[in-house]
């Protein structure tokens, strides 16, 4: 779950990482009041996307009046499709250098990794490899001072800035670990006359660990259908094609989509209802899918923990109770296959045994419909 900048900064503050003085507001009047208190301010739209600067979602003001005008303007914006509900009004800080500092998880080394560069700022992804220091953290050691000294040496940093780093980095690591973050990124980490200040905050919390952090708000950046799917513990992503796809397992779902494209169709979605689904979950996944009004329905089941008879029964129930009036291509093999095929037969569906046949048939059905 991505946190808004201001929430990330609240966490930074809690962990002792310096942030600019500031206030979160949701209307122009409050922005004016905040600017009046703070002085020269920067007004930042709180949206869960990068590129807000380039989109005009960040602005500066020196007076309450200016702040009000800018706040009004930004509150009416959409930044990369996200509506702006909140603004962060912050003191404008004097930045001598923009540093990049992040903690994230490195799958390859199976541990947290620190990324640091003196070339922070907007174009960080373009920074050449040799200007970016990476450090894989041994979780049993954590981030001790020696780790920071070595990172500083590789960055070419010494003196007071090194001391600041030695104070800051272990705090960021503690936040990263204790808050179950997938990402804790500061870009830019501003070097100012007063030392290091986190001028931005990108913190993402591991969804699988949210239960350990009931204090965090529930931030939604999904469509209603995606939220509904999440509730049902179904992996669902909307795409813009025509064939609705339902399969069990992420890999096979992806492969099914690939095959739809391979045979000239376009998938309407990615729906993986996982392993071991029961009748109800099958029915719910199906209903979710039907609600999107696809042209053709393609179901690809390779039963392992998932039992074919259960999926077939779920399908039959929906078909009988609610009706399924679009063309269906169904592939059903694996555990309790015979029973499943029998159930489908009763509701008029002839199941395929191979994925290839089922996908080809779905594309044919789509083409037939188009003609």
């Amino acid at each position: 779950m991505k946190l808004y900048e201001y929430m990330g900064k609240e966490l930074f503050d809690r962990y002792g990482i310096p942030i600019p003085r500031g206030k979160v507001v949701d209307n122009a009047e409050e922005a004016a009041v905040a600017a009046d208190e703070i002085g020269d301010v920067v007004i930042k739209s709180q949206v869960l996307t990068g590129k807000r600067g380039k989109a005009g979602g960040i602005s500066f003001a020196s007076t309450a009046e200016e702040a009000k005008v800018e706040a009004e303007r930004i509150l009416q914006m959409e930044v990369s499709g996200f509506h702006v509900d909140k603004l962060l009004v912050e003191e404008k800080i004097e930045i001598e250098q923009e540093i990049y500092l992040a903690l994230t998880v490195d799958g390859a080394s199976r541990c947290p990794v620190i990324l640091a560069s003196l070339d922070g700022g907007m174009d960080i992804e373009e920074v050449p490899e040799e200007r970016m220091v990476r450090w894989a953290v041994d979780v049993t050691a954590g981030v001790q001072p020696y780790v920071v000294r070595e990172i500083c040496r590789r960055l070419g940093v010494s003196g007071d800035l090194q001391k600041d780093f030695i104070k800051l980095l272990p705090k960021l690591y503690r936040l990263f670990r204790e808050m179950d973050a997938e990402l804790a990124e500061i870009n830019p980490l501003a070097l100012t006359p007063k030392g290091l200040i986190a001028a931005d905050a990108k913190v993402t919390i591991d969804d699988d660990a949210l239960y350990r952090h009931p204090e965090l708000p529930n931030i939604k950046e999904k469509t209603d259908l995606e939220l509904k799917a999440e509730e049902l513990d179904i992996a669902y992503v909307e795409l813009d094609g025509e064939i609705a796809v339902m399969a069990n397992g992420a890999g096979i779902t992806m492969a099914t989509l690939d095959m739809v494209q391979h045979y000239g169709g376009t998938p309407a979605n990615f729906l993986d209802f996982g392993g071991g689904a029961d009748i109800e979950k099958t029915a719910q996944a199906l209903e979710l899918l039907l609600g999107t009004n696809p042209k053709v329905l393609l179901i690809n089941i390779f039963g392992g923990i998932t039992r074919c008879d259960v999926v077939a029964e779920g399908f039959a129930q929906v078909k009988e109770k609610k009706g399924i009036d679009l063309p269906v291509s169904f592939r059903l093999v694996g555990t309790n296959e015979a029973e499943g095929v029998e159930i489908l037969k009763k509701v008029g569906i002839e199941a395929f045994t191979t994925m290839d046949e089922a996908v080809k048939h779905a594309v044919d059905l789509l083409k037939a419909k188009g003609e």
Binding site: R110, E185, D208, I252, M254, A255, D258, F302, G304, I305
Partner: protein, 288 residues
């Protein structure tokens, strides 16, 4: 032969008395796996499918040393159970659950390394040395002995491909599921290395998908260290660009992670990449 596990591997089932645990205990026993005990705190003294249940892994290990343990434990408690197995001296742990918190997974991997143990998963279907030992949740009937080693990031897709092999009467030595999470204990390289050393494995199938850089790393390793033919299938060709982990994700991946990057890397390493799962058996026959 086979890799990691064989007919002599003594297996514990943690969480044996739960729904999944008891069902798959039956399935594994049916496959021939030598299950020596189960662990379910508070359920010690019961039996599941005739196998004794203990309260702790230590108690089980007092009776008979287990070589491997498979965990059917809800995600929030998986770290505790994994640590227990590792501290008790189990050298292979198979982490079936999905949704294990990322930081728990990193802790488990660190602790496993410290104990000189192998962690498979999390979010894996497990592993099976065909015909002798299954420690996982894959359907029994597709896994028949033969000369092909299979390593896969995803489950059902792997069954799909092994199913195609089985139809063509091509069997497998060992099939290993790495697990679908970002942090998993085994990666392609670990498994490829074992297949290379295993005399019975004549050729290798690698089933990958988009995201991460493990296929690219595998490609580099294959180029330098694998003499046996490798066939790959990769899922995700049609997938839209995924969500990025801030800039950090991009910095770590450095352009790797896409379908094209993976196909490119593998092809350059001499790996043949199948376009459809159904093409794999023919490609295997060519190199066997």
């Amino acid at each position: 032969m086979a890799i990691f596990i064989d007919g002599n591997t003594r297996v514990l089932v943690q969480g044996m008395t739960g729904n999944q645990g008891s069902f798959h205990t039956g399935q594994m026993l049916a496959y021939g796996t030598k299950i020596i005990g189960g662990v379910s705190p508070g359920k010690g003294g019961q039996k599941v499918e005739g196998v004794p249940v203990y309260n702790t892994v230590f108690e089980a290990m007092e009776k008979e040393t287990a070589d491997a343990s498979i965990l059917f434990i809800p995600a929030p408690f998986a770290k505790d159970a994994a640590y227990e197995a590792l501290e008790a001296g189990v050298k292979i742990i198979v982490l079936i659950p999905e949704h294990i918190p990322l930081h728990d997974a990193m802790d488990i991997m660190s602790f496993a390394k410290q104990k000189g143990a192998v962690a498979v998963g999390p979010n894996t279907f497990g592993l099976v040395s065909s015909g002798s030992c299954k420690i996982g949740i894959m359907p029994n009937r597709y896994f028949i002995p033969g000369p092909v080693g299979v390593v896969s990031r995803s489950g059902t897709l792997c069954y799909e491909i092994v199913g195609h092999l089985t139809e063509n009467e091509i069997g497998t030595t060992t099939v290993v599921g790495l697990g679908g999470d970002r942090v998993v204990g085994l990666n392609f390289i670990d498994v490829l290395k074992r297949f290379e050393e295993d005399d019975e494995t004549k050729t290798i199938i690698l089933v990958g998908e988009i995201g991460g850089s493990s296929e690219e790393e595998a490609a580099a390793y294959i180029k330098n260290s694998i003499s046996k033919p490798v066939i790959a299938y990769l899922a995700g060709k049609s997938a839209p660009p995924g969500k990025r982990m801030g800039h950090a994700g991009a910095i770590i991946e450095r352009g790797r992670g896409t379908f094209e990057s993976k196909v490119d890397a593998l092809t350059k390493a001499g790996v043949k990449v199948a376009e459809l799962p159904a093409q794999v058996p023919a490609m295997i026959k060519e190199v066997l």
